[in-house]
């Protein structure tokens, strides 16, 4: 990956493509690339849907190689939903293909005049930006089907649905999986709206005649990759639990812990939890001829995805993830897997963030637009988003705006981004991350850890309260680094428990680039990324007062444990004190 492409969508005379070297961004990938570019080149007070914003698309440092698990793509910009810097990522094939085409980043800049819609084709011969108004308002599934007729089945597609074209703040960017379904989404923060604002409907990535990226030390790389894969396969989470049940395996456990936000964060347990558990879902999928074990990109050995068929055995959607099953399920009082699966399909098709959309529906239920538990009502509200009605545009702009429009007091957002599927009153430490991350409420921002970097900042007693600040800090640093590698975040579980597997990852990175990587290097990279993001947010006007949870978490105890969020403001302000 030795080049960066800049596509000025607003250039005089039509979109202009410039391809250049990496310059100051050499050695970066994934979140490191997107955040450092945005922090350096986007005015922090820019309107997120305006010409000054940039959409930075970057594969990870190991994407496009023969390394396992390297299919994660990062997309960065100033978020129209949160107003902060944003990095949103997805699996699928796009990262692998873009990396093999040699692009460390593709940056969409500017904004065209007029109403034309564009598609961008990237292959070994270069980049073409083509007007195609026949794609207007197509949703992702029919859009990809149409594009396949022209560009075939050996490419990767990045698309926005009608939600992105309408610039809805919950709009996502879809990446196709190996079967060319638009099911892997850069979901959070409205990145689809930024792509839509730049009038780009689709990016077609064709790596025909391109080779895998070669490692500098090939034998060492192969050896490290082998050990890495062994580590993933032998770990009970990555080798057994996730392949068997997918991420929805968490439903029963979170429900048991009393940390499963139910009926818009009113309680921590859902009576219908076992009906929509990963166990129930896997059994149903297999019974209907689907699958509970599927990889979202080539090179994945964890295979945590799956195929969900309807009662007639026909494809309905990809296996819904834990966050989707929660946001459209327990959060809305719904315990019907088929209804949830239908809404998962609609999220993918319209191109909206499944977390934001589900939380929004729950807020809408609190506003009286439907009853909790009303599956048909929830589907009806989501259909409004797909139709682009005035109500749909409100809902499609996320939980914060929906709450304001309808006068709802209980709105679970931080920096206007909806909370994910873990109640911060039951799991106080995740609340620290929700409150303080640069991304808005985000459970994956402080997600990964490696045993040999846990000593950063000194020893931590895991049973002491003050340990939570330290842990959240360490987790956010490590995650920022892992997000830059292109590795699927779920490698974190094996890395957590098996120091030899973390070492194998370091050896993969080192042998690929011909350097020696240590845990300290990982920490340094993570801190660099987070510092840039924090600086951008500060310049955008965010202060420590934005690093807080909504008030009701501090005042309303959640059953069954009857706890509130207890972390003090001064403690939250310590997370980034390096």
């Amino acid at each position: 990956m030795d080049k960066i492409a800049r596509i000025d969508m607003g250039a005089k005379g039509g979109p202009k493509v410039t391809v250049g070297g990496l310059g100051e961004y050499a050695g970066l990938g994934g979140r490191a690339m997107t955040s450092l570019v945005v922090a350096a080149e986007v005015h922090p007070l820019a309107h997120a849907l305006g010409a000054e914003n940039k959409l930075v698309i970057s594969p990870g440092m190991l994407s496009g190689t023969t390394g396992s698990m390297t299919g994660r793509l990062s997309v960065g910009c100033k978020s129209p939903l949160t107003g902060t810097i944003k990095e949103s990522n997805a699996g699928g094939q796009a990262a692998q293909v873009l990396a093999r085409l040699g692009y460390a980043a593709v940056i969409l800049e500017g904004k065209p005049e007029g109403d034309d819609l564009y598609k961008i084709v990237i292959n070994k011969d270069g980049i073409k930006v083509i007007v195609d108004n026949s794609l207007k308002l197509l949703d992702n599934y029919p859009l990809v089907a149409k594009l396949r007729q022209e560009y075939g089945d050996k490419v990767a597609y990045m698309t926005i649905g009608s939600a992105g074209e309408r610039k809805l703040l919950a709009a996502s960017i879809a990446c196709t999986d190996p079967e060319l379904r638009p099911t892997r989404h850069c979901g959070r923060g409205g990145v689809g709206a930024v792509m839509g604002a730049k009038r780009v409907k689709a990016i077609i990535l064709d790596d025909a005649e391109c080779k895998m990226r070669p490692a500098k030390e090939l034998d060492k790389f192969r050896d490290a990759n082998r050990k890495f894969v062994e580590g993933l396969r032998k770990h009970p989470v990555t080798g057994e639990g996730l392949p068997a049940y997918g991420t929805n395996v968490l439903t029963n456990v979170l429900n048991e812990a009393g940390g499963y936000p139910t009926n818009n964060f009113k309680t921590g347990q859902f009576a219908g939890g076992s009906k929509i558990s990963g166990e129930a879902q896997a059994e149903l999928e297999i019974k209907r001829g689907g699958s509970a074990t599927h990889g979202c990109h080539r090179g994945c050995v964890i295979q945590c995805s799956g195929i969900y068929n309807d009662a007639g055995g026909k494809y309905l959607t990809k296996q819904p993830e834990y966050e989707t099953v929660w946001s459209h399920g327990g959060h809305c009082g719904i315990s019907n897997l088929d209804a949830i699966a239908q809404m998962d399909y609609m999220d993918d098709n319209f191109g909206v963030d499944t977390i934001e959309m589900g939380v929004t529906i729950g807020v809408a239920m609190d506003a009286g637009l439907a009853e909790f538990g009303d599956e048909a009502g929830a589907i009806r509200l989501l259909e409004e988003v797909g139709k682009g009605t005035p109500l749909g545009c409100v809902l499609g702009s996320g939980a914060g705006i929906t709450g304001k429009v309808f006068g709802v007091e209980r709105v679970p957002v931080v920096k206007n981004q909806a909370l994910p599927a873990y109640d911060p009153r039951a799991v106080q430490g995740i609340g620290v991350t929700y409150a303080t991350t640069t991304q808005g409420a985000d459970h994956t921002a402080g997600y990964a850890i490696a045993t040999n970097i846990l000593k950063v900042g000194g020893d931590v007693d895991p049973l002491k309260t003050e340990g939570q600040i330290e842990l959240s800090r360490n987790l956010q640093i490590a995650t920022a680094a892992i997000d830059s590698t292109g590795m699927c975040l779920f490698i974190a579980f094996a890395i957590l428990d098996q120091p030899e597997t973390f070492q194998a990852l370091l050896d993969m990175l080192g042998s690929f680039y011909g350097v020696t990587m240590t845990g300290d290097d990982v920490v340094a990279l993570g801190k660099k990324v987070l510092s840039a993001e924090r600086d951008f947010n500060t310049r955008a006007g965010f202060t420590k007062h934005d690093d807080r949870l909504p008030r009701f978490f501090y005042t309303e105890p959640v059953a069954p444990h009857n706890v509130t969020f207890m972390m003090k403001d001064e403690e939250l302000d310590e997370v980034f004190n390096w």
């Binding site: 009970p236 057994e240 029963n252 979170l254 048991e256 940390g259 430490g429 444990h561």
Partner: protein, 182 residues
């Protein structure tokens, strides 16, 4: 303990019928136990789960909705609820892990250990099994015996061909044991 249950039903089923019990095991089943013991004793002594399996495989345990870190200091009383799970993904999954490094993140809901066990007494415990443990521990729990109400048993037996008539007449509650043949 057996004298408490004049009504009993013993079933022997083929091993591929185990998954018929999965929904029930996830929701929770009431089992007869000698209460007032440690959680370690319940699992290893009463359910006969090997100690190294408990250590290596049952990495996430809840007692009355509280994540457990020390099995020797968690006391199971009559009416307790025990949920058993294999290792969970995600940061929050790792947070719930027994004795895990991230236990601090769930401070406020972790089990505060009891000081001592009462003398053994007959009682019941509600047991839930999740994910990989459904298949691995389901047979042990079913062999130990479940206390079911009549309507629960009827519903269960309707899913087993040829078994719907097995409920003894006049029974409101009984002890069901299930063995599986290869």
């Amino acid at each position: 303990m057996e004298n408490e249950f004049p009504s009993r039903l013993n079933l022997t089923l083929e091993s591929d019928r185990l998954n018929l019990f999965f929904p029930l095991l996830q929701k929770g089943v009431t089992v007869p136990v000698t209460a007032g013991c440690t959680l370690k004793s319940l699992l290893c002594d009463q359910f006969a789960i090997p100690a190294d399996y408990v250590t290596d495989r049952i990495t996430t345990i809840f007692l009355n909705n509280h994540p457990v870190d020390d099995l020797d200091r968690a006391i199971v009383h009559d009416g307790s609820q025990v949920a058993l799970s294999a290792a969970m993904p995600g940061l929050v999954g790792a947070t719930m892990r027994r004795g895990g490094f991230y236990a601090a993140l769930r401070q406020g809901i972790s089990l505060i250990s009891d000081s001592g066990a009462a003398a053994g007494e007959c009682g019941t415990v509600r047991v839930k099994l999740f994910n990989l443990l459904l298949g691995e521990l389901g047979p042990l729990v079913l062999a130990h015996g479940l206390i079911l109400q009549r309507d629960e048993l009827n519903e269960l037996l309707q899913n087993i061909p040829g078994r719907s008539g097995d409920v003894p007449p006049g029974t409101n509650q009984l002890l069901l044991t299930v063995l599986f043949s290869e």
